[in-house]
């Protein structure tokens, strides 16, 4: 049986936890220490698929591009998004401006790949108390229209991390 490689880009503002989500998903680890990403780092994760005899496929090699986060001084480099079938837009639920920027990131991606799949990770949900979580879930959930969905995630606790990556993977291998 064979493997298919697919590229996915993690986009979002700086410090929202893109690298941490990948680390949790790929290495099952988490560190509180913030280490900014410059350029791009590509991680791999092989995801087993239901064997497809017709296409001779039983694994998906996910190439996860960890893009440098957007800052006031530097926008996301569009060339990284070429060839990516999907993106995972990440925002920090404790920083409203990172949520406000989600739509811009989506537009940037759709400008390059209009048929691409989009998932949204509203990360660091562990930093909100139950009241704040309820309020945010009420107010935000219906805001975004995505092909995969918006998930409240925590790289720290692992909440919804596998779920969101697997949801994207399923979308990429129909």
């Amino acid at each position: 049986m064979g493997t298919i490689s697919k590229k996915i880009c993690m986009v979002g503002d700086f410090g929202v936890g893109k690298t941490s989500l990948i680390r949790r998903f790929v290495e099952r680890e988490f560190s509180d220490r913030y280490l900014s990403t410059v350029g791009v780092k590509i991680s791999r994760k092989v995801i087993p698929l239901t064997p497809d005899l017709e296409r001779n496929l039983d694994t998906l090699k996910l190439l996860i591009w960890d893009l440098e986060g957007q800052t006031k001084f530097k926008a996301i480099t569009p060339s990284y998004l070429h060839g990516s079938e999907s993106i995972l837009v990440v925002a920090d639920v404790t920083r409203q401006e990172t949520i406000d920027n989600i739509q811009n990131h989506i537009q940037l991606f759709l400008g390059i790949n209009p048929k691409g799949s989009i998932a949204i990770a509203l990360n660091k949900i562990d930093l909100l108390d139950s009241d704040e979580q309820s309020y945010l879930k009420e107010s935000i959930h219906s805001t975004f229209t995505t092909t995969v969905g918006a998930y409240f995630t925590s790289a720290k606790t692992g909440e919804n991390v596998d779920t969101i990556f697997n949801a994207i993977a399923q979308k990429m291998v129909p």
Binding site: K7, F14, S36, G39, I42, T71, S79, Y80, H82
Partner: protein, 499 residues
């Protein structure tokens, strides 16, 4: 087929690989990227070594077809199998070589990427920190702003630094008007000692200190302050924190309640004094009457006429005494209910005073000398209420006699002073203690130094009522054991007869 590389005329330090349309390696510079991709061989799919090339097949096709000039992927981190912990940053630049081949220039940008990483790290950390600080500040500011109590802080010099909305509202200032101004601004330029910074340093938990503050509009308000201090982290200087609650309304309500309570107590005292006095004043004569009646019933037949008359006289005296007391109470009762009326009639004042003096002198006996001084010529008549005037002067003169137990002179002076009649009654008696003077005209109030001199405490109340019904004024001066002088002024303009 390998393209003519010599034609490219590339310097030897430029690293590159050449691939075909299927990403197969057709050529690599001998020194190229061997440190990270040692196993790259001719005809290998370069996408295994350069994963960043996965997915850009359409772009390479476009470059080969001259539809796109080239493509660059900057700062892609690569980890070699030899040094998995320290990656190198490569920038790949894809260019068309011919219709079948692409050349990929590979630049090691690790040095600049690491420098940039250090810079970005610092900038982003600062940004995150600022963001967290701002959130925290906003959170704290919202809490402080929403407080119902006034909150402000001052530095060691007493200058206001932080002032919340409630404080601005309470004192009626705008923030710019108070910030960096001295705290004394709120206290008419004088910080009360109880809540001064010095006091707070001595007692860091000052609570509920009530002080009077002044608003911008000049109103006085009573504020209950709780004060404390903290040291600023930067320079260890103290910052004094004041939390105040406006208790003006509560204080006014308390004051009203206290006044009402005092009045109620006063009324209760009055009632008690009235009951005590009346029972005492009535009981004695009633006992005497009862005793005399019993004796007369039992022994009248055996007694001489003279002895029977003695007892009958005692009964009459006691009855008169009770009647007088009742009269006094009735007068005051009428005055209280507004039924006591001022009914002026033309009165020959000189004659009236003369007769009154003689009458009272007779009652006073030899030990006292009541002297009338008519100090200015009097008109034939004045419009006066004879009954009220009599009550007034009888009480003043009999008091003068009564409270001069050792005997002596009582001077009764009468004169016309401008538009009023002036009466003065002066004795050399026991005087009125200073502590009793403010309440002298209250019903049933008697001075502490009266000892066993009998009295009801109603006389001067009646005098005052009579004076006031005449539209006049009464005043007195007194010294212990030196005597008392009462002065009464009655206006003459109240009735047409006097004009």
């Amino acid at each position: 087929m390998t393209p003519p590389l010599q034609a490219l005329n590339l310097p030897s330090f430029i690293e590159y690989i050449i691939i075909d349309a299927n990403f197969r390696l057709t050529h690599l510079a001998s020194h190229t990227v061997s440190h990270c991709h040692a196993n790259l061989n001719i005809n290998d799919d370069v996408r295994n070594a350069f994963q960043e090339l996965v997915g850009i097949e359409q772009i390479t096709q476009r470059i080969l077809a001259h539809q796109q000039p080239g493509f660059t992927l900057q700062e892609v981190i690569h980890y070699s199998s030899q040094q998995p912990d320290s990656g190198i940053y490569l920038t790949l630049n894809l260019q068309r070589l011919d219709e079948q081949h692409l050349i990929i220039f590979i630049e090691d940008v690790t040095e600049t990427a690491l420098l940039r990483q250090a810079l970005v790290q610092r900038v982003n950390e600062t940004e995150l920190l600022l963001n967290a600080l701002q959130l925290s500040e906003n959170y704290n500011r919202r809490i402080i702003s929403s407080m119902g109590d006034a909150l402000f802080t001052i530095n060691a010099s007493g200058d206001l630094k932080t002032i919340n909305t409630a404080a601005l509202t309470l004192f009626g200032y705008g923030e710019a008007e108070l910030k960096n101004q001295p705290l004394a601004t709120l206290f008419q330029n004088q910080i009360p000692a109880s809540i001064s910074p010095e006091s707070i340093l001595k007692n860091p938990t000052l609570e509920n200190y009530e002080v009077t503050c002044h608003t911008k509009q000049g109103n006085s308000i009573i504020v209950s302050f709780s004060c404390s201090f903290v040291h600023s982290k930067e320079n260890d200087l103290p910052i004094f924190i004041y939390i105040g609650r406006d208790i003006t309304a509560r204080k006014k309500a308390e004051q009203k309640i206290n006044q009402a309570l005092a009045q109620e107590k006063e009324l209760n005292d009055l009632k008690s004094r009235f009951i005590a006095m009346t029972s005492h004043e009535f009981k004695n004569p009633l006992s005497s009457i009862l005793m005399s009646v019993e004796l007369l019933e039992e022994f009248a037949d055996h007694w001489t006429l003279e002895k029977r008359m003695t007892h009958l006289k005692r009964i009459r005296q006691c009855t008169t005494q009770m009647n007088d007391l009742l009269e006094d109470i009735l007068v005051l009762g009428k005055a209280d209910t507004g039924k006591l009326e001022f009914q002026p009639r033309p009165l020959d004042l000189g004659n009236f005073c003369q007769e009154l003096t003689e009458e009272l002198q007779f009652l006073a006996g030899d030990r006292h000398a009541i002297t009338l001084h008519l100090q200015s010529p009097l008109a034939p008549t004045y419009a006066l209420d004879e009954k009220l005037l009599r009550q007034m002067l009888v009480n003043l003169i009999t008091n003068a006699v009564k409270y001069s137990p050792q005997g002596g002179v009582v001077d009764f002076r009468v004169a016309v002073e401008g538009e009023s009649l002036w009466f003065e009654v002066q004795d050399q008696g026991i005087g009125i203690p200073e502590s009793d003077q403010p309440r002298l005209f209250e019903c049933f109030h008697r001075s502490h130094n009266v000892r066993d001199i009998k009295g009801t405490g109603l006389g001067l109340s009646i005098v005052k009522q009579a004076v006031e019904l005449h539209g006049g004024t009464i005043a007195f001066r007194s010294a212990i054991d030196q005597g008392t002088t009462f002065e009464v002024h009655l206006p003459l303009h109240l009735t047409p007869w006097n004009s």
